[in-house]
Symmetry: C2
Subunit: 327 residues, 2 copies
């Protein structure tokens, strides 16, 4: 590694390391003449400060960690993109780790982040995360943790999520207003708090709960098969509600397969990030749950924490209904 350091610069110029250091950061103590000399030599020698040394010395690496189930996911990639964008603008770097929804991997990831002395962690916990100890260690080190999307039922932590209840409620209201009684509502893994919230709000809001059928699908494929079985025989539900993009795509595949016309034969509404609904014709009506917005909000809260804000809040990104032609 042919790397030029402050030492090398100082030796060439016959000055001390500290002078070189100060010259490069435009310190008022240094004369313009030496500043010019140092800066020029630094240019020609392609000096690039060693980030590791700076971090070690200053104990501030401006590094943020993200632990996410999977990067290749239409929700989390938007979240990550938002964080990365903001971070770069603010001079922070991000370290992104995938947990694969495996609690053990998650714990290892957190360890790695601790060892790297990140100054903040965004975490979306796995469905099987029970041990909060790795997170507590972070907090003990005064490293703020912002939980997003899949947040723990854990007292006094910072939780930022989609306005789950509100979103599900909005969808239910839209169904009510359309005068729809018989709904097939498909939710995700019932063990997740996000599912619980959405399901509860939905059933509380929907006008004719008794004529609805609420079911759970754990995957794209299960959403597909379940929709197929529920919609292959009469009487069809009037509408399908999909709790997530994953479920929406599965459901839509079944609807395509069955050749059902939207919205004539069946209506569809979903909670979605916004990308998938537009792929279909007609565009699916959905309540937007934006990973991008979630990222922005999370980042701002993180900045507040780093700047001393220690209040543990539960924030939600507001949501809005985007009308397509499926209702």
């Amino acid at each position: 590694m042919n790397t030029t350091t402050l030492k090398k610069i100082s030796e060439v110029l016959g000055i001390s390391i500290s002078t070189a250091s100060r010259a490069l950061k435009n310190h008022p103590d240094i004369s313009e003449k030496t500043k010019a000399k140092v800066i020029e030599l630094a240019q020609t020698l392609d000096y690039e400060p060693n980030a590791n040394a700076i971090h070690l010395r200053t104990n501030n690496n401006r590094l943020l960690g993200i632990v996410v189930p999977s990067i290749s996911n239409f929700f989390y990639d938007a979240f990550i993109a938002a964080i990365e964008e903001e971070a770069r603008q603010q001079g922070y770097s991000v370290m992104i780790l995938q947990s694969g929804d495996n609690a053990e991997v998650e714990a290892n990831n957190l360890k790695l982040l601790r060892q790297n002395r990140v100054c903040g962690v965004f975490a979306c916990i796995t469905p099987t995360t029970t041990q909060m100890q790795p997170f507590e260690k972070l907090l003990a080190m005064q490293i703020p943790v912002v939980f997003f999307d899949k947040v723990p039922d854990y007292a006094n932590c910072i939780r930022i999520s989609i306005a789950d209840a509100e979103a599900a409620s909005m969808a239910a209201t839209a169904l009510n207003e359309a005068g729809i009684k018989k709904v097939l509502a498909i939710f995700g893994n019932p063990a997740m708090s996000i599912t619980k919230k959405r399901m509860q709000a939905f059933s509380n809001t929907i006008q004719f709960p008794k004529s609805c059928r609420l079911i759970h699908a754990h995957s794209f494929y299960e959403a597909y098969t379940l929709t197929k079985t529920h919609c292959s025989h009469k009487p069809l539900p009037e509408a399908v509600f999909c709790m997530s993009d994953e479920i929406l795509t599965g459901t839509m595949k079944a609807i395509l397969e069955l050749g059902l016309q939207i919205p004539k034969q069946i209506k569809v509404i979903a909670l979605s990030n916004g990308f998938f609904p537009q792929l279909y014709y007609p565009i699916i009506t959905y309540v937007e749950t934006s990973g991008y917005q979630l990222g922005k909000l999370s980042f701002h809260k993180m900045m507040a924490c780093i700047n001393g804000d220690r209040t543990s809040t539960e924030l939600t990104v507001p949501c809005s209904i985007i009308k397509g032609g499926s209702l």
Copy 2:
């Protein structure tokens, strides 16, 4: 930051820092008794080695950089996921930066990676990248650069991409074998080398080029409108070929809107990452251009480079046709 260091451990135990260090890495010089003592104290004090210090001292941070146009993209997120997976297994970390297809941002990203003394960079260049200097600096620092997907026309660099020509050719062959003459073939931005390669291979292989129509769509939306205009009046093309997922989704939306039955009224084949084809019914037949595989291959080449391999090659990930029901 309430952080415990080797120094603290050594002070508590009345031993030297070096002994503590060696004890924790099971160095043979240290007696079992002291090892046990040190390890136990480290446990209870939650000692986590400071990665920055280690990196500074050992000049090896096992950190890899990725520069990608956008994280929230169905191709790159798979690529990134593959890299992250492998990296973590091998004890490497990754730093992911988005260029937003902006050459200036790209240059800044590379600078950041240099400053962090990464030991390798994966780069997918922007369409407007002309200055190769930031990359050359990396190479001058002996940091290997693996270009992937969008690779520069630049001598002596490591390029890893989808077997573009081969993939397009395979799709054309499949159309030939199905006895299809009249194809609507939709390609992407003609300025990109990836488009050129795919288009040329396609037209060279297709059996009845004169009855085919080759057009360009620059976006999802353009693919949608173009497909709509080309397929809304008789005689319909027998099949549509889509160069990418972006185009496929646009085309499919038009087909859904027009209510055309696949494969009865129109056939579809695409080059794809593999995710979108399965969303439809029937599953779209496609030639797989896997971002995930690309990531795996890139990573292995990177490991080879880090271990001394300095041969500049041009690799491609093999592709295969995945038969759905759309042809």
